[in-house]
């Protein structure tokens, strides 16, 4: 009963964590814009950017997963407690974008990490990121109700 109640209200407090998988910083700038600029106030949805992966609920991954950061990204991803939702921000994590043919790039990222939401764009518009976060919240709600996590 109480658990059901918590599952119902938990998606109203998503904490976001930015995971830079070798991004060119374009997407990171847009993510910072979403967080900091009054015009795209993401705190309305209860979101908060947190510095530690241990506090995160929604992971915003940007970048094509370069070979250098691959192991670190996977390690940080494992540090995030379940239930979590992954949001791939921009073209790079899915396809590699303009870096697609490079020998240092390991995209698509879903060979390593399950991706739940994709926000295409290079970089995506702040509004589009907010829309993606809203979609991620729906997935998170469903996951909480079913008791599943991205590991299963």
């Amino acid at each position: 009963m109480l658990n059901k109640f918590i599952n119902k209200i938990a998606p109203r407090s998503p904490w976001l964590y930015r995971l830079n998988a070798g991004s060119c910083n374009g997407c990171d700038v847009e993510l910072a814009t979403v967080a900091l600029i009054p015009r795209y106030d993401v705190e309305r949805l209860g979101c908060k950017y947190c510095g530690s992966p241990r506090h995160a609920d929604i992971v915003l991954i940007s970048g094509p997963l370069t070979s250098r950061v691959r192991d670190k990204v996977l390690r940080v991803y494992d540090e995030i407690p379940h239930p979590k939702v992954t949001l791939a921000c921009g073209a790079c994590p899915v396809s590699g974008g303009v870096y697609r043919d490079s020998y240092t790039v390991n995209s698509p990222i879903d060979q390593y990490i399950p991706i739940d939401v994709v926000v295409p764009g290079c970089p995506p518009r702040p509004h589009a990121i907010i829309e993606g976060v809203a979609l991620a919240l729906e997935i998170w709600r469903k996951r909480l109700e079913e008791g599943t996590c991205s590991r299963s």
């Binding site: 918590i6 938990a10 705190e43 209860g46 506090h55």
Partner: protein
């Protein structure tokens, strides 16, 4: 001396326990909303901190395998129970006079650093370099703000006067202010009040003094490795700590109620807490950046402590 029943009630329901938790979460919510408004944002709903805490209870708890598990798990318990105990002995002017006939000002002096101690234990137990950094920063900041805190306490106690034990009793301080008007209108005590106003953001880690838990620098320092219910306890601890320090300043400087009605006095007390928090925490959080560690330390040593000491000296001379 209070009876066992009264003490339990004070611990669990009012003014500690449930009341302190509810007030703390409400103050935190108002704080976040007000910061958002000051920055031209809409901000989260007022009950957002409560949602955060509830959400954290369904998250997985991860414990680093290099951490000292016992200390890691006990630190939030220590912190939360410490602040709840502090909230239980905190008097509310015109409503509840606290534990009577004790030297509770000295007790408070020992209880107030408990949340900081809990954070230190948490930081050092988590076996993370950022946790260790947060631990050392927390300790340095604590050393910095303890000085003006003690000086302000002494200034108030000396101003109230009294003999022996009653000098450090909170109820005698409140009774003095009921009789002579609040300390805040006392020109001698004004520097001490300003010092306490600066002590609140210092101990809450707001704005300028967000040194131990600086998110971009030491990624939330001691709290770095915490997740799930343990982090929720730290959130509650921080909320109750906010209530405690604000109530402390209210009790020391402006405990006067609005006549005899208990409910009116309670609302008036909450209003005072809210106003004090808006001035001392929200404005700092909305407008200032973070000082470096040694700048924060020097700030307290150079500006805040002399203010409190000036009050103490004046109060001592005009005794």
């Amino acid at each position: 001396m209070t009876s066992f029943f009264e003490a339990t009630f004070a611990m669990l329901i009012f003014p500690g326990g449930l009341f302190a938790l509810a007030a703390g979460l409400m103050l935190k919510g108002v704080d976040r909303k007000a910061v958002a408004r000051l920055q031209r944002r809409v901000g989260p709903p007022l009950y957002q901190p409560a949602l955060d805490v509830l959400k954290l209870t369904v998250k997985e708890t991860l414990i680093p395998h290099t951490a000292n598990e016992l200390a890691f798990k006990l630190a939030p318990v220590l912190g939360l129970s410490g602040v709840l105990l502090t909230a239980a002995v905190m008097p509310i002017g015109g409503v509840w006079n606290g534990v009577t006939g004790m030297k509770d000002l000295l007790v408070l002096l020992y209880l107030l650093p408990l949340p900081a101690m809990a954070l230190m234990i948490a930081g050092s137990a988590s076996s993370s370099p950022y946790g260790a950094l947060g631990f050392s920063r927390e300790m340095v900041v604590m050393f910095a703000y303890e000085m003006p805190l003690i000086a302000s306490f002494l200034a108030v106690a000396v101003r109230v006067g009294g003999t022996g034990g009653s000098m450090f009793a909170l109820d005698s301080i409140i009774n003095y202010q009921m009789a002579h008007g609040p300390m805040i209108f006392d020109p001698i005590m004004l520097p001490a009040f300003i010092a306490m106003l600066l002590f609140i953001p210092g101990t809450m880690g707001a704005g300028l003094f967000d040194i131990p838990e600086a998110e971009p620098e030491v990624i939330e320092g001691p709290l770095l490795e915490y997740s799930g219910p343990l982090l929720a306890m730290f959130q509650l601890m921080s909320a109750v700590k906010l209530v405690v320090v604000v109530e402390l300043v209210v009790a020391l400087f402006m405990p006067n109620g609005l006549g005899g009605n208990v409910l009116v006095n309670l609302v008036w007390h909450l209003f005072k807490c809210l106003a004090l928090m808006l001035v001392a925490v929200t404005v700092f959080r909305a407008s200032t950046g973070r000082l470096r560690l040694e700048q924060g330390f020097t700030f307290f040593v150079k500006y805040t402590s002399p203010l409190a000491l000036a009050s103490l000296g004046l109060a001592y001379m005009l005794r």
